[in-house]
């Protein structure tokens, strides 16, 4: 770590410490935890963009898939709902997949011509209607059971820690399908395809009530091991005694302990991801990836399978993002599809990677912590600044309007930061070596 890197990390640490001293330590910890989570997603983007030069803007979708995995794996089971039609829905999905696979095989095996087009189209259209015929009644049945509190197929009731890798796998599977179609074409196509799939994933989670209750939200998702609940801690005489001995109010102490445990957990995952990607980056595989990124034509001439490697790295990066998304949902304890918004979940992550230094994991971490802090603090501080700025103005609609719109300033701030970094320091704060 060079002096400049240490200095930059020190400066970011000061930001968090400053928040702790000036505002509250609870806030500083909360911001740090959220920033760590987004940083892990940013590492995923860095794998795609920094290592391989792939421009994917589907981060929001993969994050949401991770969240969905938490619901499916660790939400409490809704046995009655599942019995009402869970198997039927599963069967419908299998039928739909089989139709798609059959169409794919027909396309591969038959020779080109009208017959092939007819068979493939027939399989797809027939498969769709068959799917709907099995799917619709079962969905109605599942959603009819206990709609106030459940109405969805429920989860498996397994620990959150199992849900996280599943979130990664789910994201990887979708990434495979997208990458298979959009990679190997113009670079913008991947961007547009991922932009689309992200919107669709969020639309599915919002609208398929049988899956995760849609916008009615799933709450009470279990906390990951070893994080306890604050109420349990406060009810524990041993904990209350220890807290009082340390001179802390038991309530504050319990909240702080929970935050610290999350910090530990996320920090561990972050370190593992960094370690693994650093190892990968310095392996022959990593060198090959960078060679492909820097000159696709010459890498291809050396016999490297450019599209294949791109697909690989796209899947890996997406899996990391899905993992981070699952952790986010576990921490929130609920899945709220309405909150997934591309500006905060996709483009913010991109700003982190670019500002920090694409291709450099340390840079990405720095960018993540810095931008994460900025994003969350500007939310709180922005209106106050505007209050001061507009203080000399007479009371009136203009002042009210400015005060009301202050929260939108952070989009503007992020955009300006991104443009300035791209222009004057295109390799980021900590450039790749």
């Amino acid at each position: 770590m060079t002096g400049k890197t240490a200095l930059l990390f020190g400066a970011v640490a000061c930001l968090y410490l400053g928040t702790g001293f000036l505002q509250s330590w609870g806030l500083a910890l909360t911001i740090l935890n959220s920033a760590l989570l987004v940083t892990i997603a940013a590492l995923g983007v860095n794998i795609q963009w920094g290592y391989a030069g792939l421009f994917s803007v589907g981060t929001m979708g993969f994050t949401a898939l991770g969240g969905l995995a938490v619901v499916l794996i660790s939400a409490r089971p809704n046995t009655e709902n599942w019995q009402a039609g869970g198997l039927g829905i599963f069967l419908a999905l299998v039928l739909g997949a089989l139709a798609a696979i059959a169409a794919l095989f027909a396309w591969r095996l038959m020779s080109k011509g009208l017959a092939r087009t007819a068979v493939v189209a027939g399989l797809l259209v027939g498969g769709f209607f068959l799917f709907r015929a099995v799917f619709d009644p079962n969905v109605m049945a599942v959603e009819a059971v206990n709609p106030q509190n459940a109405g969805n197929v429920g989860g498996l009731g397994l620990p959150s820690l199992i849900a996280w890798p599943v979130g990664g796998l789910l994201a990887a599977a979708v990434a495979w399908a997208i990458g298979k179609t959009a990679l190997g074409l113009r670079s913008d196509y991947l961007a547009i395809a991922t932009l689309g799939i992200a919107e669709i994933i969020v639309a599915v989670i919002k609208n398929e009530d049988w899956l995760a209750r849609g916008v009615k939200n799933i709450t009470e998702l279990p906390r990951p091991w070893p994080v306890p609940y604050e109420v349990d801690l406060q009810a524990d005489p041993g904990f209350v005694e220890t807290a009082t001995r340390w001179g802390m109010d038991p309530r504050t102490a319990s909240i702080t302990l929970v935050d610290l445990l999350y910090l530990l957990l996320f920090g561990t995952v972050l370190l593992i991801v960094i370690w693994a990607s650093e190892r990968a980056l310095h392996s022959p595989w990593g060198r090959m990836m960078r060679a492909i990124r820097d000159n696709e034509v010459s890498a291809a001439a050396m016999g490297k399978d450019v599209t294949g490697r791109h697909l690989q790295v796209f899947i890996l990066g997406s899996a990391v993002i899905g993992f981070a998304g699952a952790m986010l949902t576990s921490m929130d304890g609920q899945l709220t599809p309405g909150t997934y918004n591309p500006l905060a979940f996709t483009f913010l992550v991109w700003v982190m990677v670019i500002v920090g230094g694409s291709g450099n994991n340390l840079g990405t971490v720095l960018g993540g912590l810095l931008i994460g802090w900025l994003w969350l603090v500007v939310e709180n501080v922005g209106p106050n600044i505007m209050q001061v700025l507009t203080a000399p103005m007479p009371d009136g609609w203009l002042r009210d309007h400015l005060l009301g719109s202050a929260q939108h300033m952070r989009l503007l701030t992020m955009g300006v930061i991104l443009l300035l970094v791209l222009r004057f320091s295109p390799r980021g704060l900590i450039p790749e070596k």
Binding site: T181, D188, A191, L195, I200, A203, R423
Partner: protein, 336 residues
């Protein structure tokens, strides 16, 4: 069996909405495709450029309405549109001067410029939200209908109403005028020809004395005009909300790619392909089918292939199909 009523229901619920939506998408996709062919990058800020132009137009429309100035049966926004276009053109020209020109001179890779356009998108999005807020705004005025449903039913004696809203007619007429003017400009004028030359082969165009800065500036102005017009028409027809305009990016890109990035005709065709597929797939067919089949066979369900929330899935699926089978688009664009 009641073919006439079925036809009217089809026109009313499918055809008319799809035509006006298609015209709006086509105008948007034309802007994207023009920028792509001259400046050689996919402009992610296009949706927010539309939002900005629409916002200026809305603000001016409100002012005009407050002054008691109207446009007869037509929406007042049409009077404000030229100012909206001018403001948007000024904005994109300033953006080009301060942001994009640097990368053009550097011959930066298209992906970098796309990321730069993300930054521009953030800034424009922030400006729009800052000025007008995130809420839904309506600014339609003037006569509501050209064909009123009730009088249509009385005049024809059919049981199915047909509504032709003024905004639909305005959309289609404006779009036709804008497209006609664009094609005339590209085909007949000296500047338009120099733009086509620049798009075909930059080096040869420079060699024959075409001023690249002029070509780029004119491209931005046209793109701004198309974006503002598309945005205002969409807002008149439906309503204005900054986030919706950001989301329009997907169908607009899908339209441009389906038609063939870089091909103006393709952009128009793509806009209508996307709009018609979206409307036909997400609207309920129940009413139309009920008129066509014997009473005993009348459908019970809505006969809706996909719910309206999945309209993006339609543009996306078409996009994927095109990428798989014909990556250059229906009308051969110049990209692959």
């Amino acid at each position: 069996m009641d073919i006439l009523n079925a036809l009217v229901a089809f026109l009313n619920f499918m055809f008319i909405p799809a035509v006006s939506y298609g015209a709006q998408l086509a105008l948007g996709a034309l802007g994207v495709t023009l920028i792509y062919s001259i400046l050689r990058f996919s402009n992610f800020a296009h949706g927010d450029t539309m939002a900005f132009g629409t916002m200026v137009t809305i603000l001016l429309t409100w002012w005009l309405q407050a002054q008691g100035i109207g446009f007869g049966p037509l929406p007042t926004a049409l009077l404000a549109l030229p100012v909206g276009i001018a403001a948007t053109a000024a904005l994109v020209l300033v953006t080009d001067r301060t942001v994009y020109r640097f990368y053009r001179r550097q011959k930066a890779s298209p992906t970098i410029v796309v990321i730069v356009s993300l930054g521009v998108m953030f800034v424009m999005n922030g400006i729009v939200r800052f000025i007008i807020g995130v809420d839904n705004q309506t600014f339609t005025d003037g006569a509501r209908f050209v064909i009123e449903p009730r009088s249509f039913m009385e005049a024809t004696g059919l049981s199915e109403p047909l509504a032709l809203r003024t905004t639909v007619v305005v959309t289609v007429v404006t779009a036709v005028i804008a497209m006609g003017a664009l094609f005339w400009f590209l085909q007949k004028t000296r500047t338009g020809k120099s733009m086509r030359a620049y798009s075909d082969n930059e080096d040869l165009a420079l060699l024959s004395g075409i001023n690249p800065d002029r070509v780029v500036a004119i491209t931005w102005i046209i793109a701004a005009a198309l974006a503002t017009t598309a945005g205002v028409l969409y807002g008149l027809d439906k309503s204005f909300m900054p986030f919706t305009y950001f989301q329009l990016l997907l169908p607009i890109f899908a339209a441009a790619i389906v038609g063939g990035l870089g091909s103006p005709i393709g952009a128009i065709a793509g806009g209508f392909i996307i709009a018609f597929s979206e409307v036909l797939v997400t609207n309920a067919w129940k009413k139309i089918v009920t008129y066509l089949v014997p009473e005993s066979m009348a459908p019970e369900g809505l006969l809706q292939l996909l719910s309206t929330e999945y309209k993006f899935a339609v543009s996306f699926t078409i996009l994927i199909i095109v990428l798989l089978f014909r990556p250059t688009g229906v009308f051969k664009g110049k990209s692959l």
